[in-house]
Symmetry: C2
Subunit: 228 residues, 2 copies
């Protein structure tokens, strides 16, 4: 069984803390509704776990009714850190063989990409949607000067879905929790248990809505990829 | 004296080699015309060197007339690699104290950013427009699996202008040429002469036109930043 865990529990600090980016309207519906629908319509996904802040639970329930979402879904409360939210989502996904963890602020994800990460995770244990980096990236230790020039041909920007055999990510995150380490993405803890993470090339743009300035681009992408 | 070197000699291999991205129309004029005008209108810039492929020289001369560009400019032939084009531009910029090297495919550059890199380069010798990386970046040695998780808080995406005291960049590139090393950005060779490169935070989006898909975003940005 494949379960999608949609993480929608952020506080949007980069939006100034006032606006919840997940609920901004784009192409006729909230950002998170697009993300949810993409999983709802993707045949490879059996069930969906929605992780949100408790005070938003009613909004999500109403959204599911309004969008007439077809797939079984359940709720999980978000935690203080992203990692805690994912952990709660994993508990709700008990019984899943493979879990696709997706950021609710990435509304342009395609079913083909979801399926590709599911297949790679089933085979290898851990897989992440990623795209080769096109920018020139430098490392700076002091935030003022360049410390190291990185080799662009070796760099990948990772997105979501980040997809795992459930027992793999549970084991990795247990280890992270025991060591008291906090990760901002879910592939990080895999190192702690020696699990290799496979890159699944994301052929279509799959941006994250981070600031209101991202919305016009996302709107255009949603139109192109068939949002109704 | 501050001289801008606009590098417009690429062959646009990522555009499929057929289209010259610099000449794509956006917001009423070619991409490269926007870039050129931004420097033409920026008071801190005294003179402009345009580096292009020899067969395009006539097009650039006609563009300067059509746009009624006010600032003195001169031509330099592009070379086989970006580094060779910059080198030719530096020869044409003899007499300059500070040079701002800019990618002709970045039409949204602002005068404020140009001035900030000029000031930093005058003080420190080398400065580059840059922005903190918002993506999660991984290193992969084999292109299939993640080899190393990078610390995002230390990563900067560098753009242009890349701005230098002319004698600094000439010395750095001479060293690179003597060692037979090829760099795809101009800050790289500074390491060879122990020159620190300062980061100048770019507050406004300053994207590079890389594929036709970038054009709608660039059009919107040009509108917002007052392209006429």
């Amino acid at each position: 069984m494949n379960v999608a865990i949609i993480v929608a529990a952020g506080r949007s600090t980069r939006m100034g803390g006032q606006v919840d980016k997940l609920w901004l309207e784009v192409a006729g519906r909230p950002v998170v509704a697009h993300a949810w629908r993409r999983f709802d319509e993707c045949a490879a996904v059996d069930r969906i776990v929605l992780v949100g802040r408790p005070e938003r639970r009613g909004d999500f329930e109403e959204l599911a009714r309004r969008e007439a979402l077809a797939k079984p879904w359940q709720w999980a409360n978000g935690g203080p850190e992203r990692q805690d939210s994912v952990w709660n989502g994993l508990q709700a996904a008990e019984g899943a063989e493979v879990v696709a963890i997706h950021d609710g602020a990435r509304p342009c994800v395609t079913c083909a990409l979801i399926e590709a990460t599911l297949a790679a995770a089933r085979e290898h244990g851990a897989a992440v949607a990623a795209t080769p980096v096109s920018d020139t990236i430098k490392e700076s230790l002091d935030g003022r000067t360049i410390s190291r020039h990185l080799d662009r041909s070796r760099l990948w920007a990772v997105q979501t879905p980040q997809t795992f055999r459930r027992e793999v990510i549970v084991r990795a995150m247990q280890e992270a929790r025991q060591q008291g380490r906090v990760y901002t993405d879910d592939t990080g803890p895999c190192d702690l248990i020696g699990q290799k993470v496979f890159l699944v090339r994301s052929p279509a743009p799959n941006p994250k809505v981070t600031t209101p300035a991202d919305l016009p681009v996302v709107e255009e992408l949603l139109r192109q990829t068939g949002a109704r």
